[in-house]
């Protein structure tokens, strides 16, 4: 399987050439190079995946280079390929290749294209290093590498203060998670004496029931290790508490949101938990934490999604919420279901983001849905792509046929398995998941109705006003302002089409392999056969729950945004406090600002002005200087003030001292 070397390193090579060549290379060359590299990687990845799917491929590790050896701590650069990696390989390379292609159209007018494409390819390389990691440290390398690429891409339009702020926020908040990840690695090394993932997983079950000291407390070893590692996962996957960077990350160009902040990077946390699933299985309390955090996030983010006006932010909160589903699936022990949702979600969420990008492209960079409306007639192809994505995310399907769009298969499986797990946290997750499914349906259809149905409200947008050179007053009744949305170019439509195929069929085709077959996973994740059977035995109502709430959500959205369009305003007026709380994202940003950011700057100033200058310098060197200058009045006669005379005295003193010592 030497092709894995090409898969991983071609994007790096392309990124280096395009990034360093930059303007000297020109737009076309760097675009062809990076996109070409990604299509080759993609073409090489699918055979590996299909090999695992039909059971002909074997897991293996391809060594690359020695990395660090320090005492008993050693780890190397190596590429591990097993079923879990193969799933991620196709997700990453497929979405990345399509996003590269899409960016030909989307970024066409940008003056800085080589840099953009170099960053995209660099990101892909780092993500591939993450999923092929054979030890925790290389996983951390990929982890931080994708963080860097994300930082660079969020801040791609570096002249915008908001983009810069969002980029730094993303990096720093992720670092909070990394703190947990790093401590987790240190602890793992301490306990197992290795950072090699297979060795850790093999030894993990025997560690259940052991205890370890941590911050002065004696705690269950596996629980503390898994929770520390999970904190890392929470940061990268934007789970409740460490989620604040994700919505702001929408400052980046839309293709970036599709690739990094929907399909791949943010799922790294889920991947990590699945990769280390035998370890988490030895820590039931940690799994409970994973379940509760996932459930809380899936509900919390969905509530916010229902109130936002920015089309990308709605999808961002939706991503956050869907990641919550994946986590609680993992938390109840259904890692296959978690990975399955990761897989389908990658296609339909990338599709939704790229579709949103196409809408934004058509609407002259306007992102506010209040100024959309009636677009289905003007950009029909984008409309149908978005429709496929919406049908997938809301989980439309027919239970009795066993067929539906991608989300129908994966989300229903997660709800069933949460219910089937029978634990208290599992039930909590089930109910949170059902409510979130209702909210998902509502905000997804709300997005569709506001964008593609109703009357055009375009002239309200400043972007459109700039385009048509008219104010709302001038156009009167014609709320289009005479603006003509244009369908996107082929480079953007082809990826939409291909992803639509994924959004429609990915669930149906791969359902059996991911959910029901221990053989497919071949030991690359912990597979609970018992749970896999139990999930088919849940009551019919549980199986239908997702479909029922999907229809309820659709009906409410239809009523509020098509039938009686003054209803939302009335509702908001009636429950203004609640709406304000949710609309302002539960005030997390404000809270963190008061608790962390402001005190950090305040403390910095205090330590500097009062500590360094006010105390240390005042009583230290400046105080000494003061004392010396007073004393100097008396000592002036013997002091010349010249450096060389001091040096002479020092030297004489030294010689004298030495002779004394040596003679004695």
């Amino acid at each position: 399987m030497a092709s894995i070397l090409a898969i991983v390193f071609l994007p790096l090579l392309a990124a280096l050439i395009a990034g360093l060549g930059n303007r000297a290379l020109g737009n076309t060359v760097s675009k062809v190079l990076t996109t070409g590299a990604l299509f080759i990687s993609c073409a090489l990845s699918w055979p590996i995946f299909l090999g695992f799917l039909n059971g002909t491929a074997q897991a293996e590790v391809v060594p690359v280079l020695q990395w660090v050896q320090s005492g008993t701590l050693s780890f190397d650069w190596a590429l591990r390929v097993d079923t879990l990696t193969a799933v991620m390989l196709v997700v990453i390379t497929s979405v990345s290749a399509l996003v590269h292609l899409y960016s030909w159209g989307y970024m066409d007018e940008d003056p800085d294209q080589p840099r953009f494409f170099a960053y995209l390819s660099l990101f892909t390389f780092a993500m591939l290093m993450l999923v092929t990691a054979d030890n925790l440290v290389q996983m951390f390398f990929g982890w931080e590498g994708v963080g860097l690429a994300s930082y660079l891409l969020i801040g791609f339009w570096f002249k915008k203060p908001s983009a810069n702020a969002a980029a730094i926020k993303a990096f720093v908040v992720n670092r909070v998670g990394d703190l947990g990840f790093m401590l987790g690695i240190f602890g793992t090394f301490l306990v197992f004496g290795t950072v090699s993932i297979p060795e850790i997983l093999e030894a993990a079950p025997a560690m259940a029931g052991s205890s370890i000291g941590f911050l002065g407390y004696r705690v269950d070893t596996m629980t503390v290790l898994c929770i520390l590692l999970f904190i890392g996962a929470m940061g990268k996957s934007a789970q409740l508490g460490l989620h604040t960077w994700l919505p702001d990350a929408m400052e980046g160009p839309t293709p970036v949101s599709a690739l990094i902040h929907a399909a791949t990077m943010v799922t790294a946390g889920v991947f990590m938990v699945c990769r280390l699933s035998p370890m988490f299985e030895a820590a039931p309390i940690a799994l409970g934490v994973v379940t509760v955090v996932g459930a809380a996030t899936c509900f919390f983010a969905a509530t916010i999604g229902t109130t936002q006006w920015d089309i990308k932010r709605v999808i961002a909160y939706s991503t956050c919420s869907q990641l919550g589903y994946m986590f609680f699936a993992a938390g109840v022990g259904a890692y296959g279901a978690a990975m399955f949702h990761l897989f389908t979600h990658a296609f339909f969420k990338a599709l939704l983001f790229l579709g949103a990008g196409s809408v934004i492209h058509a609407m002259h960079h306007e992102q506010d849905m209040r100024y959309y409306g009636d677009l289905r007639k003007h950009i029909p192809l984008t409309f149908w792509a978005m429709m496929a994505g919406t049908l997938a995310i809301t989980g439309v399907g027919v239970y009795w046929l066993g067929a539906g769009f991608a989300g129908f298969h994966s989300k229903d499986a997660i709800l069933e398995v949460a219910f089937a797990s029978g634990s208290e946290t599992g039930m909590l997750a089930f109910w949170a998941g059902v409510v979130a499914a209702l909210l998902t349906s509502f905000y997804s259809w709300r997005l569709m109705f506001l964008t593609f149905w109703g009357k055009p409200r375009w002239i309200g947008s400043e972007h459109i006003q700039h385009s048509v050179h008219k104010t709302p007053e001038e156009v009167g009744e014609d709320t289009t302002g005479g603006y003509h949305p244009h369908e996107s170019p082929m480079a953007m439509l082809v990826p939409l089409g291909l992803l639509s195929i994924g959004a429609v069929f990915a669930g149906y085709v791969f359902h059996h392999a991911f959910i029901d077959e221990a053989g497919f996973w071949a030991g690359s994740i912990y597979f609970d056969e018992h749970l896999a059977h139990a999930m088919h035995e849940v009551p019919l109502l549980v199986k239908l729950a997702a479909t029922i709430v999907m229809i309820i959500g659709l009906v409410i959205a239809w009523y509020a945004y098509i039938r009686k369009t003054d209803f939302p305003a009335k509702f908001v007026k009636e429950f203004s406090a609640l709406h304000k709380f949710v609309f302002n994202k539960w005030y997390f940003d404000e809270l963190y600002n008061i608790v962390f950011v402001k005190p950090a700057f305040w403390l910095g100033r205090v330590f500097w002005k009062a500590g360094d200058v006010g105390i240390i310098d005042r009583f230290g060197p400046d105080g000494a200087a003061w004392a010396v200058s007073r004393g100097a009045v008396y000592a002036r006669k013997i002091q010349s003030g010249y450096l060389y005379s001091y040096a002479l005295v020092m030297l004489l003193g030294l010689v004298a001292a030495l002779s004394w010592v040596m003679a004695g």
Binding site: E144, D178, G209, G213, L215, F601
Partner: protein, 516 residues
């Protein structure tokens, strides 16, 4: 190589060149200095290539007996080798950085730098306690002159503060050294490293050495000379100060304090850890609010040195190796960052962060290098900074989870202040017309940036090149101090294996049943 006095040659080349520089005019002085430092770099490469990994602990030894037991004794182990290589690597870059920015008294300036190189190599190569002391203290003088003569507006204050702090510590060290030589009957460093001093004597000796090394590091709260010295020093002065002079403190801990006084080191672990933790948090927060680029990087140096001290006193291989790699990495990265500041200082003559902005538009190459060094400072995996942080912290974790937690917080704050700096300088709008008109890197500047960038990546991707020569020496040190190693707070206890998840529910009952 046997018998060839390469270390003496490396001391002599810059010394002779320094003398020559005093007598020639500016243009020739620059060339002489550059050639001399490049020769020394070549000699450094020869030294590294001929260093036999797994061979004798002390190699390239030279010894000339002088008066009263005092001898001119040189020799290096892997630790000293790496620090010497770092020094000779940074020197040509320093000369390059001063090429155009220093216009007054060029001959004397170059002489001071070359003298400094001799003294730095001497510190790391000395095998006699007093020879070490002379090199160690004399290193102050050229640095004092560089800051005091070629420094910024407030150079006299900074130079005086620098001198006062560092001299104060060294007086105590000298007294301790004399006592040691008297007690052990030799001033030979390798012998002293194996000599067991009485425990109560160790305490005082350790404190005396600590006074000197803590200032050199610098550790909190004796760090306040560093920001002033950096701000006032010319670019090359900052590079060598951050790059090599600070390392003398860490080298001192690893060469003297730990092997010579293992019990006292263990006794004072709490002190080192406490000061290190304060340094990491305190100076990182201070760095966050700086308006002066050099001050910001100076404070970040103090924070990084906190990791060095904590790692060195972790009493295990990972901690000490991490500490060494951190010194090497910080030498490259902070040197590179000061160089990056110098590049734009030369163009605009201000260190004020707000006077810049949007540099990635008019200086795209510069932006790439600055980004790389920023990431290395933050400790991004793939750069040298990560290997350093990771190994040190992994070592510290085995001793104290608390210290690790606090020190690891530094990675969050480090990201915050460095990215905030980068954003204000390189990103954003081009709000200042003069900053927007600055040209990108010249060939001379590229020739300095590229080797630094390659070294940073090399150390990040394949640190084995740097770890291998030090491995045996650090293992020996670890074995030497193992008898005093403090007990970690993690203490794993293997419990009865649980059969399945259901047992978790019975855990409480078991406790009541007196299972513990």
């Amino acid at each position: 190589m046997a018998g060839f006095p390469i270390l003496t040659l490396m001391l002599l080349v810059p010394l002779v060149a320094a003398t020559a520089c005093l007598f020639v005019e500016a243009k020739a002085a620059r060339s002489v200095a550059l050639v001399a430092t490049l020769i020394n770099l070549a000699l450094g490469v020869v030294l590294w290539a001929n260093y036999e990994i797994g061979g004798a602990q002390w190699q390239f030894t030279e010894r000339v007996e002088l008066f009263a037991g005092f001898s001119y004794a040189l020799g290096i182990d892997g630790i000293a080798l790496m620090l010497i290589v770092l020094s000779v690597f940074l020197m040509p870059i320093c000369i390059g950085a001063s090429w155009e920015s220093i216009q007054k008294r060029v001959g004397e300036y170059m002489a001071a730098f070359l003298l400094m190189e001799t003294l730095m190599i001497g510190v790391f190569a000395a095998q006699d306690l007093f020879l070490f002391y002379i090199f160690f203290e004399a290193g102050l003088i050229p640095m004092y002159l560089i800051i005091g003569i070629w420094g910024g507006d407030n150079r006299i204050y900074a130079a005086y503060k620098f001198f006062l702090y560092t001299l104060l510590g060294s007086v105590l060290m000298l007294i301790a050294m004399m006592w040691m030589v008297n007690e052990a009957g030799t001033s030979d460093i390798p012998t002293l490293m194996a000599y067991d001093f009485a425990e109560n004597a160790q305490t005082w000796l350790w404190l005396a050495f600590f006074a000197s090394f803590a200032v050199k590091m610098p550790m909190w709260p004796v760090h306040t000379w560093l920001p002033d010295a950096h701000v006032q020093a010319p670019t090359a002065g900052s590079i060598i100060l951050a790059g090599v002079l600070l390392k003398m403190g860490g080298y001192g801990f690893i060469r003297f304090s730990l092997p010579m006084f293992p019990e006292a080191s263990a006794q004072f672990v709490w002190l080192v850890f406490t000061l290190s933790m304060i340094a990491v948090i305190y100076t990182s927060l201070v760095a966050l609010v700086q308006q002066d680029m050099k001050k910001l990087i100076a404070y970040s140096s103090v924070a990084h040195m906190g990791i060095v001290t904590a790692g060195a006193f972790a009493f295990n291989v990972q901690g000490i190796e991490g500490s060494m790699i951190m010194m090497l990495s910080h030498g490259l990265v902070s040197g590179a960052l000061f160089l990056a500041v110098g590049v734009i200082y030369d163009r605009l003559h201000t260190r004020e962060i707000d006077r810049y902005g949007g540099l990635s538009i008019n200086m795209p190459q510069y932006a790439i290098f600055f980004m790389l060094f920023t990431m290395a400072s933050i400790g991004l995996p793939g750069t040298s900074g990560f290997v350093a942080e990771f190994l040190s912290l992994a070592g510290i974790y085995q001793v104290s989870t608390w210290v690790t937690l606090v020190c690891t917080t530094g990675i969050i704050l480090g990201a915050a202040y460095m990215l905030y700096l980068y954003r204000r300088v390189v990103f954003g709008e081009q709000k200042n017309a003069d900053a927007a008109a600055m040209p990108d890197l010249t060939m001379r500047e590229l020739a300095m940036m590229v080797p630094l960038a390659l070294a940073v990546l090399w150390m990040g991707v394949y640190p084995e090149s740097f770890l291998a020569p030090m491995r045996a020496d650090i293992a020996a040190l670890d074995a030497r101090i193992a008898r005093a190693a403090p007990e970690g707070d993690s203490q794993l206890k293997i419990g009865p294996p649980k059969s399945d998840k259901a047992d978790a529910a019975h855990g409480e009952e078991a406790e009541h049943g007196g299972a513990h």
